[in-house]
Point group: C2
Chain length 199, copies 2
């Protein structure tokens, strides 16, 4: 079976839930995921899709909903987390470097843990250095590489690829062209991967 593409941005709030529970879910279901960081802010700005800014009622609900869902998953976030992230681009440039070098998953989880559980926003210091150190990567070297045109271009390329697939938010799961949006569609995506059907 093909791995399920897990499209996310460090910066997406609901992606916290997926990032933290994905290893357990993958093991239990016997499926694998390919972690694909992209720039969700670019996509949403392009599509005039602004879910929370100037929407205080909906934003308050979002945090409450994440708190309830986190409790179900045994997570203990300290909410609300800083939002929106000022360092979204850099956080995801580092993640792209992590894809190339094989530490994207651990870095992403460390960055979210610091952001959602220890009040250190991702994509800025000390989150960057702490998260990279935690996964055994030299922060100075990685942060230099993550700022190169090659990595910036690759993030843009991945973002364009996501848009081509119909991705408009994060997290999104793509299974053989079928798009599932939201942490709450993870189980549907897995069902689809295990039993493709022409609904």
């Amino acid at each position: 079976m093909q791995p399920i593409d897990f499209w996310y941005s460090i910066g997406s709030t609901y992606s916290y839930l997926t990032v933290m529970r994905l290893p357990d879910v993958a093991r239990a279901a016997g499926v694998t995921f390919r972690w694909r960081p992209f720039n969700v802010r670019y996509v949403m700005t392009e599509q005039n899709n602004i879910p929370f800014k100037d929407k205080p009622v909906k934003a308050a609900y979002m945090w409450r909903d994440i708190a309830r869902r986190a409790a179900r998953y045994g997570l203990e976030p300290d909410l609300p987390a800083a939002y929106p992230l000022q360092g979204l681009e850099l956080a995801n440039q580092v993640a792209i470097l992590g894809v190339e070098e094989g530490w994207v998953e651990e870095y992403t989880r460390a960055a979210y843990q610091l952001w959602f559980e220890e009040d250190e926003p991702a994509g800025q210091e000390p989150n960057l250095t702490l998260a990279l150190t935690k996964v055994g990567v030299d922060p100075a070297r990685a942060l230099t590489d993550a700022r190169t045109p090659r990595i910036i271009d690759r993030l843009a390329h991945e973002t364009a690829e996501a848009m081509k697939l119909g991705v408009f938010g994060a997290p999104t799961f793509v299974v053989e062209g079928e798009v599932f949006w939201g942490d709450d569609r993870l189980e549907d995506a897995i069902d689809w991967a295990l039993n493709p059907s022409p609904a």
Copy 2:
């Protein structure tokens, strides 16, 4: 146990799923629901919350997602359905009359079935007459009563009440002040009703 408040508008797309499956879900879970029509368009306009207009990618996903979810529930909608509804207000004024007279649930289901499965938009003819006839109500009488200031005021009052509770979209379930938004939170709302917890 108190009934769970089911806030919805005839006009909401995802409410189709809830309206059609709620009787089975209620029976299986041993819970009851109070059907509370309100004007979700008023609330969303007030809150500058515009989910699908001028968002073709997200709108296309919404229909696909509803199709997949409907298949899970054994429903057979003919999608996309007409959207947005021109007769949203009148459709819900009739529903408010149905609350007073005890036929809101059957009317709502008939209106959605005609709209989503037989391409007859709710809130206009022939949907209004067909749905009312199906539930055994004289359409001429009901449509006259549904247009009275008393019913118009009551819909506005219910809409204000929904906003006071923190409702910002439809469908929404409210359990002792706790708000759950979306057909995909119905099970969470039921869990909350059965096992209230301080998440």
